[in-house]
Symmetry: C2
Subunit: 234 residues, 2 copies
């Protein structure tokens, strides 16, 4: 009976994230992680339900790194910006894990923490209920969408191409079909992702701060989304 676990959840997370950071997502498997920890694959099933669960563990490890100021700012928008930027920094620090985060963020406890902090800031705008939900979705959508954009660039670089080559290829798209795409590819060549994030987020927050036009009443309906609590192992 009562035998102490051989590995802690934190050990698993750290080892898995290290593997992903160093060698990419494809390098993470039950077998490779077990190997990195010096055991057989089956041992992992004492700590993790699934391969899926392992992926969630990694996403959670990334989100757990997010740090923001605990003291509220004067302006609620600054507070939201602070938390959102923290989440985004955590994601950017682990580019190879981004697909996992895009796909499992809402199953991570650490993700819930970030969400609640974001909501605390947004609630200070005077919103509650449905309006708060919409604002929350807008901000989180923006953050994870920016992470998606980040991923796209890294994928190509990963595939062995320099950023310059990627942009050049865009520039060599048929210019009659994709004139604007080519234009922003040029802009992207000298752009700082941090600035893009900041400016974009401020635009979103400005939109949320502006008086909102009346909207038709809700039809009662439908399922909850982005609301899945993380399943805790045993």
């Amino acid at each position: 009976m009562g035998r102490p676990p051989k590995f802690s959840r934190e050990q698993l997370q750290a080892a898995a994230l290290t593997l992903v950071d160093a060698h990419g997502l494809e390098a993470l498997s039950m077998r490779s992680l077990a190997n990195a920890l010096g055991t057989g694959p089956m041992t992992l099933y004492n700590h993790v339900q699934d391969r899926e669960d392992l992926d969630t563990l990694v996403a959670d490890a990334v989100m757990a790194e997010a740090r923001w100021s605990p003291t509220p700012h004067a302006d609620w928008r600054d507070e939201v910006e602070d938390v959102a930027a923290a989440g985004w920094r955590a994601v950017r620090a682990h580019p190879r894990a981004i697909p996992l985060i895009l796909t499992r963020r809402s199953r991570s406890t650490a993700g819930l923490e970030v969400a609640e902090a974001l909501l605390a800031g947004l609630a200070r705008s005077g919103r509650s209920g449905h309006a708060l939900l919409v604002a929350f979705r807008a901000v989180t959508a923006f953050v994870s969408g920016m992470a998606q954009a980040e991923l796209a660039g890294r994928l190509a670089v990963e595939a062995g191409e320099s950023p310059e080559v990627v942009i050049d290829r865009f520039r060599s798209l048929p210019s009659d079909r994709y004139p604007r795409l080519i234009e922003i590819a040029g802009a992207a060549a000298t752009s700082d992702p941090e600035v893009e994030f900041r400016e974009g987020l401020r635009a979103v927050l400005a939109g949320l701060a502006a008086p909102r036009p009346p909207t038709p009443p809700q039809r009662a309906k439908k399922q909850g989304r982005d609301l899945t609590p993380s399943r805790r192992r045993s």
Copy 2:
């Protein structure tokens, strides 16, 4: 020499998407697709570079379904909203393919088409260069972020739980730690995703329409992101 291809790109796309729609992402493999088409796995390598390439093919098939009005609206924001909503509808029509879209949208030709149409609308706001890039990122980030939210709900339902159960589980989170999360879980219970999308997008567009505060000049730097052209097979 010159032998006509046994399958067209469209056939592959259709068969793969059907498989995913019907049985989920895990049901798509080189072998299962080959089987559905009545060949051996190796035949697929005449049409596709990779397993990765197959994923991109599916994402492309989904984005190719996006349809929007070809005639420009009076207000540029309505035009952007039209295109963005079209992209979102396409995504929602294939919920089980969402992880692929989140992860490979920027490698899809059909995705480029949507992007260019979005840019055409945004350019009418008077933006170009860096400002256009930022506006573009904000809108696409919002759309794919909303898709991410959509995914989260479907995952749980897929896992065999009714939407009500999912929301109930959220409501039963520790209420001292996650008060706001619980609040919006309640709001989400009666919320229509379509309304959320519309309201959120309008907030983003309102923010983009508002006069922008001055921003510090760009440091020259960095790589392009979200700009990877799709690799065409021979």
